[in-house]
């Protein structure tokens, strides 16, 4: 619009005559600005579906719960389940492991939580955590038979040497947090629903 001179008189024959004080000019500018803004808004809105498609698709979201049968896990053993394409460690703790976890002074921990905070009432032997190290996302060792459990008898992440105790709490190494406990519930004494 910079290249057009705006005459004070209306130029189109038959166009309603705006008063000579420049009302017409203002109305015309307004239309140009409105048209440009609409184009801008339109372009902005058109980007929305292009971005929306990055979000997890409906079939991925439908995978958000997993049911696991835990009836075959003997005390001292654990299994790796899969929830949302991530490993979940389900471990049946031995009484000695529970005792070791409860002996620790919670206040001295990097991420203070007791074993009871991390298990369901009456099910203190079932430790269910994500198998994802809170440092940079590697899968710690210690759930399978004969794997290195680290110096605290829980899990040990081989990537950068984070050691977790028998309650899955961070004790040593670079990880900032305890292994994450996902939302879960016992749908029956032998079936856990994660998510």
């Amino acid at each position: 619009m910079a290249t057009v001179s705006e005459p004070a008189q209306p130029m189109m024959p038959g166009e309603p005559v705006a008063d000579a004080s420049g009302q017409g000019v203002r109305r015309r500018d307004f239309i140009n600005i409105a048209a440009t803004s609409f184009a801008g808004v339109g372009a902005g809105v058109a980007i929305v579906p292009l971005l929306m498609q990055f979000a997890p698709s409906a079939d991925v979201q439908a995978l958000s719960t997993t049911e696991v049968d835990i009836s075959k896990i003997q005390p001292g053993q654990g299994i790796k389940a899969v929830w949302r394409k991530q490993p979940v460690f389900i471990r049946n703790l031995l009484p000695a492991e529970i005792a070791a976890a409860n002996k620790v002074d919670v206040g001295s921990l990097r991420d203070p939580q007791s074993l009871a905070d991390r298990t369901k009432p009456g099910k203190a032997n079932w430790l269910i955590t994500l198998g994802v190290c809170t440092h940079l996302g590697c899968v710690p060792l210690g759930i399978g038979e004969g794997e290195n459990r680290g110096e605290y008898g829980g899990y040990f992440c081989p990537c950068h040497g984070s050691a977790y105790d028998t309650a899955g709490r961070i004790r040593k190494g670079p990880a900032p947090k305890n292994l994450v406990v996902p939302e879960y519930s016992f749908t029956s004494p032998t079936v856990v629903q994660i998510g």
Binding site: M1, T3, V4, A35, A39, V48, P49, L50, M52, Q53, F54, A55, S57, A58, D59, V60
Partner: protein, 439 residues
């Protein structure tokens, strides 16, 4: 820069000045689509279609890139992945409908653009290169559209791939081995699907590159105009921005409105139901038809039914390719110095016959094969070649064009010249002689 009075880029802010001195992209853009490109002031709405074609290409590239994030080019899963896009991917359905109908949108625009060029003689000197680059883009579009249509791996995709690659088997001796080489197998399968996907992703970027060359070539002589008369001086033109950006803005609005009707309310109307059945190499659909933008060519292909020296199949394939390639030679076939059909009374009649002829060919291309349709297709195909190869050269030799206007301003302003001439020039111009002295 095309015209002496084209305004050079003057940065409006110190930042743009800083950028422009180091990387003159702002200057380039300003000269191409900004105030630095003087455009004849008498363009009609048919001149909107160049910008619309660019818009359609951008829409296809952007939605295509996004769809490729969800599509598998795996013969066992391609169809399924398309259904996943339609059902599970957030906003996937709209992206897919836009891309699917966008191909038709693109072709519709290109066809109007081509007919615009035919009517107003845009292929004539000095714009031959612009025209030929355009035909190149059209050929690339056809290849891209064909390969894209194969990707959903429905029945029409599969049998389309089978039939189109079958063209090559018409070539004597090397035909069949060439077909197998192109498919990477004896029938369309994984190898063909993967290479089609790869090329379907590549070709649009080549189209974009040729488009840039085309705009470059266009900006040497500048845009043509409905009178076909050369721009004589500055009052024949207006700067592209804001005059033609505003006009194109309106054109884009109308085009998108029409496009939206198809996307949201008629998304299946241009497709074929059989493509919602997964590819089955053992069953051919009862009635194979290409997408609408190939119907006229498909009609030409099917019109050759007699072996005469060469086998009928080879005649059909040769004719079909010739039907496109003839466009490359238009400049040399039509020697009339007058560009616009508005001043060519005889050619104008044949132009409209050609339009009707191509519509008839389109109808025949999708119709069931009956004796009447076949005969109609043969007559229409004959006229197509007659038009370009025989009528056009003869008409351009014998036709007597109407008198041309002296200048664009004279043709467009009808006696309003005095008040319409640019400020400061109005007093020098007279009503009869075009003020060439203004140069």
């Amino acid at each position: 820069m095309s015209f002496a009075w084209a305004k050079p880029y003057e940065p409006t802010s110190p930042f743009m000045k800083w950028v422009d001195e180091r990387l003159p992209v702002p200057r380039l853009v300003y000269g191409a689509i900004g105030g630095g490109y003087p455009v004849p002031r008498n363009l009609n709405y048919f001149w909107n279609f160049g910008v619309l074609a660019g818009l359609a290409l951008m829409i296809q590239i952007i939605t295509g890139i996004v769809l490729a994030m969800h599509y598998y080019s795996y013969a066992g899963g391609a169809f399924d992945s398309v259904e996943r896009i339609m059902r599970d991917v957030p906003a996937g359905w709209v992206l897919r409908y836009v891309h699917q109908n966008g191909a038709s949108f693109f072709f519709a625009i290109i066809y109007i653009h081509i007919f615009r060029g035919l009517f107003y003689g845009s292929y004539k000197a000095p714009r031959e290169m612009v025209w030929m680059l355009g035909v190149t883009i059209y050929l690339l579009m056809m290849a891209t559209a064909f390969m894209g249509y194969v990707l959903p791996w429905g029945q029409m995709s599969y049998w389309g791939a089978q039939v189109i690659t079958g063209f090559f088997s018409a070539i004597p001796v090397v035909g069949e081995p060439l077909r197998i080489f192109l498919l990477g197998g004896y029938a369309p399968d994984q190898a063909a699907l993967t290479r089609f996907f790869s090329l379907h992703y590549l070709l649009p970027f080549i189209i974009a590159a040729v488009t840039i060359l085309k705009i470059w070539a266009l900006h040497i002589p500048g845009s043509s105009n409905p009178t076909g008369v050369d721009v004589k001086d500055e009052k024949d033109t207006l700067p592209f921005h804001p005059f033609y950006t505003a006009k194109d803005g309106f054109g884009i609005g109308v085009a998108l409105l029409i496009f939206s009707i198809f996307i949201f309310f008629l998304p299946y109307s241009l497709g074929h139901p059989d493509n919602y059945i997964e590819a089955n190499p053992l069953v051919t659909p009862a009635h194979i038809v290409p997408e609408w933008y190939f119907w006229p060519f498909y009609a030409i292909l099917r019109s050759f039914t007699v072996d005469f020296i060469l086998p009928a199949k080879l005649w059909g394939v040769l004719a079909m390719f010739s039907a496109v390639l003839v466009l490359f030679f238009l400049t040399w076939l039509d020697r009339s110095p007058v560009r616009s059909s508005s001043y060519r009374p005889v050619y104008k009649i044949f132009f409209w016959v050609l339009v009707a002829d191509i519509i008839v060919l389109g109808y025949v291309g999708q119709a069931h094969i009956t004796p009447l349709n076949v005969a109609l297709g043969q007559v229409a195909s004959a006229y197509y070649f007659l038009h370009f190869l025989i009528i056009l050269p003869l008409v351009s030799k014998f036709e007597r064009p109407l008198p041309l206007p002296n200048s664009i301003s004279e043709s467009v302003l009808h006696g309003e010249k005095q008040e319409s001439a640019p400020f400061g020039l109005a007093t020098t111009g007279s009503t009869t002689a075009a003020p060439a002295a203004a140069e």
